[in-house]
Symmetry: C2
Subunit: 459 residues, 2 copies
């Protein structure tokens, strides 16, 4: 290990960092891994980082951590939005970003086997050559890792039709808290031998095991897609149009809502002029053999609510529209410090949720921008504060709490796809109840009795 | 309780059956619940049956069983195929078939809330009035319960496109082994608070908790379907055609393979003449806005292999073809005692699996009939023996063991959708390995330390 920190300061961590392969205690390395994109910044830095390059590196690090009772924080690309991979003094970060190889692509079985550090967009570029795609597509696709997607059960735009990460992961290779290797799932599409440990690991934020390899289900690229951008006088009209799409029994592959203030932020960042065309925006895509027919019906359903409709003439025009949506969060990040909410509500209550968010903004004085995966009822209300202000204390935290209560009052959830991490633990009991939390802690104790893996996160 | 059995014979069970509401120790009741449709018949009868009519009945029975350390065997409609609900002396059956109310249907959110005893076909009939369907459709749809579907993570014909039971269950209300009530999942499409206890419960065969209520995801009935029956010279040609469908990157909602001997059995039972038209049969259905276009491409893909093609002109003709497939197992049951295999293989290896099954039949002298969910690589090789012979001992058991080794040698699984129960435990360790089984037992101990719920099953 490096020499920036005296071993006696580190306590038990020193023994781990001393013995582990590819460990560093350099200040720059530690500072680079103590937080994510949640806006939460721990008061201290972790004691060190292990840069795993192989399963053996992971096994060694976990065994050392277990032997010395040192908390280990698994980390992918650091793009999490719930502080699930943030780390502080007394903890060692297990960085998996160097395990970034695509191990195999089987175009016949439509399966890929990857290491956890592979970036989502890199995988999609590689499988596109075979006419396939990996469905989960977080807006951060260009910079987020498959391992992180698995840790949070990440979603994205396409999960309206194709499901979230859980629906695209067939099997996992996992290092448990005592260093044993576990295989979950299988290589076949279906299978029910034993309990669904695969689903249990997905979304567990690294608290039950460290994912070191994943077998992923790919899907054929659609034979056709149809894309429409619709502009509305206000966000309530856009939400009503989204509900009309669901009521018309359609299954768009993408149905994204963006409110007016966010459109203005996108325009400022990209030099576009979306905001001038309406006070809210709905981006819809259909795919498959009936893509254009289904889009005709979709357009009929939303037309009564729209101010303007733009049907993409080709892939380039469609891609430009998708890019605008993907750039929403980066555009807002240019305006200040952001905290990205992630509430889910029953789909028919989207308009109530949008109205409720405006109320919260008024009451708390906090600026809230809203984008939503409308077909799933999954909203991302984004709080933006001045760069020197905190998003995890004061009015921003109060607004976050009110958002959760709003979701709860509408029969919804605290987090649709970003996870709990450290950021949302305060509201977890209200949603899950005592029995569920007790059961979850019992499972965690059964798998990690010493609490070595990412303690304090997720549950 | 009734008086067929003296309390002193029952030991601890007497205390449970004495105190539980709606308990019976009548011979007829006990004889009616000791086995399922697996062909496995326990040597003795359970001590009694509790016929639960409410959540309170279940809680009371579980608490009594826990207090007296009596094993409780949850039971739905008794249509299981792996002896997961078979019960013997020393055990009490918790029969949930009277909890058969559809509690609500929300056509806007496309959600239904049901009790576990609701039959799959009853639910589908009720939601069809709203233009919706519940996707999982085991061949036993007319007689199997939603609770049993959840216990086994059941599949069916439509899961080629719509996924298995896990993909259609949003939330559960579960009574744990100590009588506490747990809620898993949620009412929204997406949600990632805490571990995925919902998926953990699904497929756990009643060993982790008793499902007393389920919130189910419904889907819009497709706007169009296209159905084709194709006949082939032999089963190898049919398997090659199925592989060609996958290779053509199509997504049929149904792709069912039936071999020649099974066609003959169907003909004998239904008075049809399928066997005269070919030595194997493939039933394909596409749905959605592009159903007919996609079917054109599918027909092109399989035509080189076919002897005859029948494109259904209307819904009635399509339904007749689906019925023939659904009647395959009942038709074989008329020929003798059956044991229904359930192996899964990678989709591209379907033809090898079919050939391997023919080899097993030759080597063991056991008659094997084969039907398959071809799009998932999920085969049901069906062993038929004379009524007086056993399907769980002797040559039939040897053939079952060889089937599993065949699946394993092709990179597949012991069970695609029927579950493990008692029937497949002998081969479980070979598939899952020691670490996975240890983890599963650790989870079971964490949730049910006394081993009250369905001991000896599933894992």
């Amino acid at each position: 290990m490096g020499m920036d920190v005296a071993p006696e300061v580190l306590g038990s961590s020193a023994a781990v960092l001393d013995a582990a392969r590819r460990a560093s205690v350099d200040y720059a390395d530690r500072a680079a891994v103590n937080t994510d994109r949640s806006g939460f910044v721990p008061q201290s830095l972790p004691d060190g980082v292990v840069f795993a390059e192989s399963v053996e590196d992971v096994v060694q690090a976990v065994k050392l951590a277990a032997a010395h009772k040192v908390p280990l924080v698994p980390r992918g690309a650091g793009t999490g939005l719930a502080a699930a991979s943030s780390a502080s003094a007394g903890e060692v970060v297990l960085d998996l970003s160097r395990m970034n190889r695509i191990l195999s692509i089987d175009p016949v079985e439509q399966i890929a086997v990857v290491e956890p550090g592979v970036l989502n967009a890199h995988l999609n570029a590689a499988v596109a050559e075979h006419g396939l795609f990996y469905a989960p597509d977080p807006a951060s696709t260009a910079i987020c890792s498959i391992g992180g997607n698995i840790a949070t059960n990440a979603g994205g735009m396409r999960c309206a039709k194709y499901g979230v990460t859980r629906e695209s992961v067939l099997g996992l290779r996992v290092v448990l808290a005592d260093g044993r290797e576990l295989r979950t799932g299988r290589d076949t599409i279906k299978g029910v031998t034993g309990y669904d440990l695969n689903a249990l690991m997905i979304g567990s934020e690294g608290t039950l095991g460290v994912v070191v390899e994943a077998t992923l289900r790919l899907r054929p690229l659609p034979i056709a897609t149809a894309t429409v951008a619709a502009f509305f006088p206000d966000v309530a009209a856009a939400a009503a149009a989204a509900s009309a799409v669901i009521a018309a029994r359609l299954q768009p592959s993408v149905l994204e809502l963006v409110d007016g203030p966010t459109l203005a932020a996108i325009d400022a960042a990209l030099g576009t002029n979306y905001r001038s065309r309406g006070g809210a925006f709905l981006l819809a895509q259909t795919d498959g053999f009936g893509a254009h027919l289904e889009m005709d019906v979709l357009v009929n359903a939303i037309e009564p609510f729209t101010a303007e409709l733009q049907r993409a003439a080709d892939t380039a025009e469609a891609e430009a529209l998708l890019t605008a949506r993907r750039e929403a969060i980066p555009s807002l990040e240019k305006m200040g410090r952001v905290s990205i909410g992630d509430i889910g509500v029953p789909r028919g209550r989207l308009a109530e949720a949008v109205t409720g968010l405006a109320d919260i903004s008024r009451r708390t004085g906090v600026r809230i921008f809203t984008i939503a995966h409308a077909a799933d009822g999954n909203l991302h209300p984004i709080i933006v504060v001045d760069p020197q202000e905190s998003v995890t204390e004061g009015p921003a935290k109060a607004a976050l709490g009110e958002m959760f209560r709003l979701a709860q009052s509408l029969g919804g959830t605290l987090t649709g796809e970003h996870g709990v991490g450290l950021l949302k633990r305060d509201w977890l009991r209200d949603e899950l109840g005592d029995v569920s939390l007790e059961v979850q802690h019992a499972i965690r104790r059964a798998l990690d009795p010493q609490g070595i893996l990412n303690p304090g996160k997720a549950i």
